[in-house]
């Protein structure tokens, strides 16, 4: 924030930094940003909820982000998503009750040549099948419920 001169226009950048450090945006963080940038809290909350990249929920220990871009969609992304939803008992956007896994979706990673893809704990898995994705989760110790 300081780098951008503590101006209101630094809001989005500040939220990026906040999420990078804490993993999600919480109320004290947002209040702090509002105070430093002299932006009304409503505007900070507005931006935090408007942009899909920001999340206000703490994430699970592991994350699995299934790409739902057009190429992935044509090549079976919904089957991937359904299989993990059934396996872990969560819907996209939710975290399992034990906090082990957050299942998320992304608009498009731009790796359409490898569709369908998912990013598991920051690593991209390409040309996936539901079985391959389940095996990947098994390897990081996320088991079926």
């Amino acid at each position: 924030m300081k780098k951008l001169g503590n101006r209101p226009s630094a809001l989005i950048e500040a939220l990026h930094t906040l999420q990078q450090v804490f993993g999600y945006l919480d109320k004290p963080g947002l209040t702090f940003v509002a105070a430093v940038l002299k932006v009304p809290p409503s505007q900070v909350y507005g931006a935090a909820t408007f942009y899909h990249y920001f999340t206000m929920k703490p994430q699970g220990e592991h994350t699995c982000i299934v790409c739902t871009g057009t190429a992935c969609y044509i090549n079976g992304a919904s089957a991937l998503l359904k299989s993990i939803e059934a396996r872990e008992g969560v819907k996209a956007g939710q975290t399992t009750a034990d906090g082990r896994l957050s299942l998320l979706t992304a608009r498009c990673f731009g790796a359409c040549g490898l569709a369908p893809v998912a990013v598991v704990d920051g690593e991209m898995e390409s040309r996936l099948t539901p079985e391959a994705l389940q095996q990947r989760l098994e390897r990081i110790g996320v088991h079926a419920i």
């Binding site: 226009s9 942009y51 190429a71 969609y73 498009c108 790796a111």
Partner: protein
């Protein structure tokens, strides 16, 4: 940096290149990186050292996108031009051993296949041939020479005239003539003027801008600096998606190098021209690709569009005259200056000049990034360059323009691809996503998929888009579940018309396109989804 310094760097690089036995290029764009091309590069470097090649005899380097993403990780060898596909680290020793002999046949990719030979690369001319993190590589391939020419030999008006002569149109989708836009900003009253590069590539299934930024970031910077000089801007922003961390990292490196060498900042190249560029991260809102929403987002606000006029060219960022162009538009500028507007305008069709980069994906043999002259037939792109549909399935449609575009069926495959023809077919050029669908895709389902996208991405400012997309999505759901009535079909068409004509910005205005184009070409699929007893009554509809 002065022009003689540029020349001496270029000469030094070329000398080093000539002294080398070979150069092994490993694709390090996001797609190949996802296939562990980093490990591969390490293995190749090690193998080269083990087989007695010093770094001056054989360089193993990272390069940008080699194009055929579906066959990654890709490796190319210079000067022989041999291409290898699906290379694993365990193949490294074999590849190095074959440097001065016959190539490794089992990994070789035919570089004479139409995918490579039918392309015409301008924007991607360096892609896959230079290390994106080394400015010297870019300079060795005439990089920044156009900037030097512009600053020392041309007046801003000459630059604009050259761009106007080239016939270049905005590559972000709408196709507004670049020269005209530049001229408007140049003439606009008010200072400072601001330049923005729109790298918020939000269309799902499109990855042209990501590839350009990851493969040849200096090309975009050079285009931006030239544009800034032409319109008199002193401040520039690149608004790039946060979902593209590699592109952001490469851009930051490129910016740092350009600043250090005096290509950005004060007194650029020894002239009195000053220009600085900052990066702003997007945060996953598709609507921010719309220019007024993008401006709001850079200002730290929610990305909601506002009515135009005034256009950003008159009142943009913080009310200042602002030039906004897409990544690919800027990437075309340096070659236009180097080779002349007349050269560029020879390529392409009547009103669509030059080339276009497309991201070819979906149900197609050769997925990846291609650049072809405007006016190429869809059939040539899909079947010749793309290699057709895998698994013996039949072609059904090609989707262009993402959620704002439409699906084009088989009977129009012989259509030349340019801005006007795609619009007349009910689709749009868009930013360049091209998704091929085969007979297994349900068009109603595809229409619902895009409507779901637009519904979620609608910023909510205007009612036709906010409420209309929800209603259309619900209606399309009825078709997918086969519980729609003829009245639903009628309502869907009415809503398409309403949302298209009354929405505030491009997102809403084009949201009905996927529905309208599938209704136009695949109406029987909608009719087949009507509740069976109703088909008897309303089947003729």
């Amino acid at each position: 940096m002065q022009s003689d310094e540029l020349k001496s760097i270029a000469a030094r690089e070329r000398e080093a290149e000539a002294a080398r036995t070979a150069c092994i290029n490993v694709c390090a764009a996001a797609s190949c990186q996802a296939l562990q091309s980093d490990e591969l590069r390490k293995a190749l470097t090690q193998a080269a050292a083990e087989q007695g090649y010093g770094p001056e005899a054989c360089t193993v380097r990272q390069v940008g996108c080699l194009g055929l993403c579906g066959a990654g990780p890709l490796v190319s060898v210079e000067p022989s031009g041999i291409l290898y596909q699906r290379v694993q680290p365990s193949d490294a020793a074999e590849i190095v051993a074959a440097l001065e002999g016959p190539p490794v046949a089992r990994l070789q990719l035919d570089s004479g296949m139409p995918f490579f030979t039918r392309q015409h690369r301008i924007v991607l001319e360096n892609s896959g041939r230079i290390d994106p993190d080394r400015m010297e590589d870019y300079i060795a391939r005439d990089g920044y020479s156009a900037l030097s020419t512009v600053l020392h030999e041309m007046q801003p008006a000459d630059v604009i005239a050259e761009v106007a002569k080239s016939g270049l149109r905005g590559r972000g989708g709408a196709g507004y003539p670049a020269g005209l836009k530049w001229e408007t900003v140049a003439k606009a009253a008010g200072s400072p003027k601001i330049l923005v590069c729109n790298a918020d590539e939000g269309d799902p299934g499109a990855f042209m801008d990501r590839s350009v930024l990851e493969s040849d970031p200096h090309r975009v910077l050079e285009g931006m600096i030239i544009a800034a000089y032409a319109v008199g801007a002193s401040e520039g922003y690149i608004y790039v998606r946060a979902e593209y961390p590699l592109a952001v990292a490469r851009l930051k490196t490129a910016l740092r190098h350009a600043e250090r060498h005096g290509l950005l900042g004060g007194d650029i190249c020894g002239s009195h021209f000053t220009f600085r560029i900052s990066i702003r991260l997007g945060a996953g809102a598709f609507v921010c690709g719309e220019e007024t929403a993008l401006i709001a987002s850079i200002q730290g606000l929610r990305g909601t569009p506002r009515p135009r006029p005034p256009y950003p060219a008159q009142a943009g960022l913080w009310g200042h005259p602002t030039l906004i162009n897409n990544v690919e538009t800027y990437a075309n500028i340096a070659p236009i200056i180097r080779k002349g507007g007349a050269w560029f305008s020879q390529l392409g069709t009547g009103r669509s000049k030059g080339t276009k980069v497309f991201a070819l994906a979906g149900s197609i043999q050769n997925t990846g990034l291609i650049e072809v002259p405007m006016g190429m037939r869809l059939r040539d792109i899909v079947f010749d360059i793309g290699g057709g549909i895998p698994g013996g399935r039949r072609f059904k449609a090609v989707q262009t323009g993402g959620p704002s575009g439409g699906c084009i069926p088989g009977e129009f495959l012989d259509t030349p691809v340019d801005y006007e023809t795609l619009t007349s077919l009910g689709s749009i050029m868009g930013s360049g996503g091209m998704i091929v669908m085969d007979e297994t895709s349900s068009m109603v389902d595809v229409a619902r998929y895009f409507m779901e996208f637009c519904m979620t991405e609608s910023c909510g400012k205007c009612i036709p888009c906010r409420a209309g997309t929800v209603q259309m999505h619900e209606l399309l759901g009825r078709f997918c579940d086969r519980r729609a009535t003829p009245a639903d079909l009628q309502m869907l068409e009415t809503l398409c018309d309403l949302v298209r004509n009354t929405s505030l910005c491009g997102l809403g205005q084009s949201a009905p396109n996927p529905v309208m184009s599938t209704l136009r070409y695949f109406r029987p699929e909608y009719e087949a989804a009507l509740v069976s007893e109703m088909v008897g009554a309303g089947g003729a509809a």
